[in-house]
């Protein structure tokens, strides 16, 4: 068990977490610690509870049991340290609003009640759009954006939250290669400045290339730790059950001929 002091230095500590939807367990007695300044992948088959893990850390779903702490305190107390990139498909992109406006939403929490975003927020939002290479789209209606562009806008919104820890739910789902590259670059930049990134990830192939740390999840935690130590053939097989028929021969080698877990699951 971690000492109290160690807990204070952990960006995220999950203890004895159980979450159930309609009384079927989605997460079962999960214990996991996420170290500071790392890019952390949450990997597992469909229905493994990956998004639910993020949502329970963010206090978005009720917990059946257990605790979550962010730097030793409750999420409620540490909310301003957290940035969130939900799944792109979770919103209606035909909503009447502009790219810049969506990015400004990242600052609503800090603005407080009633106050409207002003010049300062506008400048910050533009800066964040610049970082994701979308500055020239600031005044576009969001329905005119491609999938990759939408994902970048969501990322920019999270950047505008100016957080210590970022949670991202499948940021690479359905984006083009250029966008994927751009997102990874930004993530690395964030890591260099000491931020922690927790990413629900689908593509086993790119885990060793992108991430430092991996959490293999299938309702329970199968393995958790540095990629080179825990991202083994055995652990992957355990997480994906018998459905992982084409196992990579070269787990741990970025160039290995890994297949997409997504197409093999289900």
């Amino acid at each position: 068990m971690d000492s109290e002091e160690a807990l204070d230095r952990l960006p995220v500590a999950v203890r004895d977490l159980t979450v159930a939807y309609r009384d079927t367990p989605v997460l079962w007695d999960v214990d996991v610690s996420m170290p500071e300044g790392k890019m952390i992948a949450i990997v597992g088959p469909n229905g493994a509870g990956k998004s639910t893990l993020i949502k329970s850390i963010l206090n978005l779903v009720p917990l059946t049991s257990g605790n979550v702490t962010i730097y030793g305190k409750t999420y409620k107390a540490q909310r301003s340290m957290v940035g969130y990139v939900p799944q792109r498909g979770s919103v209606d992109w035909d909503f009447p609003t502009t790219t810049l406006d969506v990015v400004q939403m990242g600052m609503y929490g800090k603005l407080g009640w009633i106050r409207r975003p002003g010049k300062r927020e506008r400048d910050v939002a533009l800066e964040c759009l610049e970082k994701v290479g979308m500055a020239s789209y600031a005044n576009r209606q969001i329905s005119q954006l491609s999938g990759g562009q939408q994902q970048r806008v969501f990322l920019a919104r999270a950047l505008a939250q100016d957080a210590q820890i970022y949670f991202m739910d499948e940021p690479f789902a359905g984006v083009d290669a250029t966008t994927e590259r751009a997102i990874v670059d930004i993530m690395r930049e964030l890591r260099e400045s000491g931020k922690t990134l927790v990413v629900v990830h689908h593509n086993l192939e790119t885990v060793p290339e992108y991430f430092d740390w991996v959490i293999l999840l299938n309702v329970r935690v199968i393995a958790s730790g540095p990629v080179e130590e825990v991202f083994t053939r055995e652990a992957i097989q355990k997480a994906y059950g018998g459905r992982m028929t084409f196992l990579p021969d070269s787990v741990g080698e970025p160039s290995g001929p890994l297949r997409r877990a997504e197409s093999l699951g289900d």
Binding site: T64, S65, G66, N218
Partner: protein, 368 residues
């Protein structure tokens, strides 16, 4: 046949014909489309009245069916443009058509027997006086005969196309693959809905037609998982609503069609609360049992997961984030099941509990 029998039989036919098509509307999640159709056929009726120079059964049915199909086309077409979402499309189309109908009535037919109130909630009490007279021969109450005929027609349609409707409702992809056109069935059903609405219109009015289509079918859906039984139950509860609604209405001297709706609503309320399979009460009981079962499993798993010898009540409550009273309940249950034992405030697994933990762990893998 006396007036009361006529009214009752008219109500029974209205309820049956509506319930027959209603089952499919509920299953296909098209209840609000039926609401839209029931409002939107008004201009069709008015136009038919105008063309036929008075009330005319054939023109009325044709005009209203046409208006009903037009509604479906307009709503679906509007949705397809991508400019508005489906709920907004319905919310634009049917008020427009209904408003057009009421406008036509008040502008051109203000003095004839076709007023908007009657369109809204009908007057089944007039059914005995509205005679079907062909070539001078009085065949009886027109609404009763028309609704009787529509009931037979709907029944025949369902019997004849039962398999097709069933497949198209539960698996449109499969239906298309094996050669039934879901589109044809969709429009066929919508035509039947429109015709039934016209028939039931004069008896119960536009909004209460919707009640008779949706409410008994939803009641039945809460009681069974089998389509044939669901159709039967929805006709049954529709008929019960119609008959009991009639007597209640007569008793306290209020709108008959309104009371039929209220009784249908009451039956739905009963089913929603007390249905043994899908009712709220049964569900709540099942849930709380499951919740305790689940918590007991969780406790066993937790103790086996943390291999420390034993844990105190306080540490368990803190780790699991459970209230002391809930923890006590779960601990009591697990003690009875002989998976844990409590010795001087310390909780530990029994041998039996360790086996149980392995069993639970095994059942979790692989997920789904």
């Amino acid at each position: 046949m006396n007036a009361e029998q006529t009214i009752l039989l008219t109500g029974v036919f209205a309820a049956s014909s509506c319930a027959l098509v209603g089952s499919f509307l509920v299953l296909r999640k098209m209840a609000m489309m039926a609401d839209a159709i029931s409002h939107a056929i008004l201009p069709g009726l008015v136009l038919a009245y105008f063309l036929a120079n008075g009330p005319n059964l054939v023109f009325g049915v044709l005009g209203a069916s046409l208006a009903g199909l037009t509604t479906v086309f307009l709503v679906e077409g509007l949705q397809r443009t991508g400019r508005v979402k489906s709920d907004a499309a319905i919310g634009i189309v049917f008020p427009a058509l209904f408003a057009l109908g009421t406008f036509m009535i008040s502008r051109y037919f203000a003095n004839v027997h076709l007023d908007a109130d009657a369109v809204l909630f009908g007057e089944i009490a007039f059914a005995p006086f509205d005679r079907l007279i062909v070539a001078g021969v009085d065949y009886g109450s027109q609404p009763m005969i028309v609704l009787g005929a529509i009931t037979v027609l709907n029944l025949a349609l369902i019997l004849f196309f039962y398999k097709e409707l069933k497949v198209a409702t539960f698996d449109p992809g499969l239906a298309a693959a094996i050669g039934f056109s879901p589109v044809m069935l969709h429009y066929g059903l919508m035509t039947a809905v429109s015709m039934t609405t016209v028939g039931a219109f004069s008896a119960v009015g536009a909004i209460l037609v919707v009640a008779l289509m949706i409410v008994p079918a939803a009641t039945a859906y809460l009681l069974t998982d089998r389509l044939a039984l669901m159709i039967g139950l929805s006709v049954g509860s529709g008929v019960v609503s119609a008959v009991s609604g009639y007597y209640l209405a007569v008793l306290i001297d209020v709108s008959i069609s309104g009371m039929m709706t209220v009784t249908a609503g009451a039956l739905f309320g009963l089913a929603a609360l007390f249905s043994p399979s899908h009712g709220l009460v049964a569900r709540a009981i099942r849930r709380s049992k499951l919740r305790e079962r689940f918590a007991a499993d969780l406790l066993v798993m937790h103790l086996s997961h943390h291999r420390t010898a034993a844990e105190t009540f306080d540490s368990l409550a803190a780790e699991l984030n459970w209230s002391p009273s809930w923890l006590e309940r779960v601990v009591n249950r697990s003690t009875q099941e002989d998976t844990i034992q409590v010795e001087s405030e310390a909780v530990r697994l029994t041998d039996n509990g360790r086996l149980a933990a392995d069993r639970i762990a095994a059942s979790l893998e692989p997920a789904r």
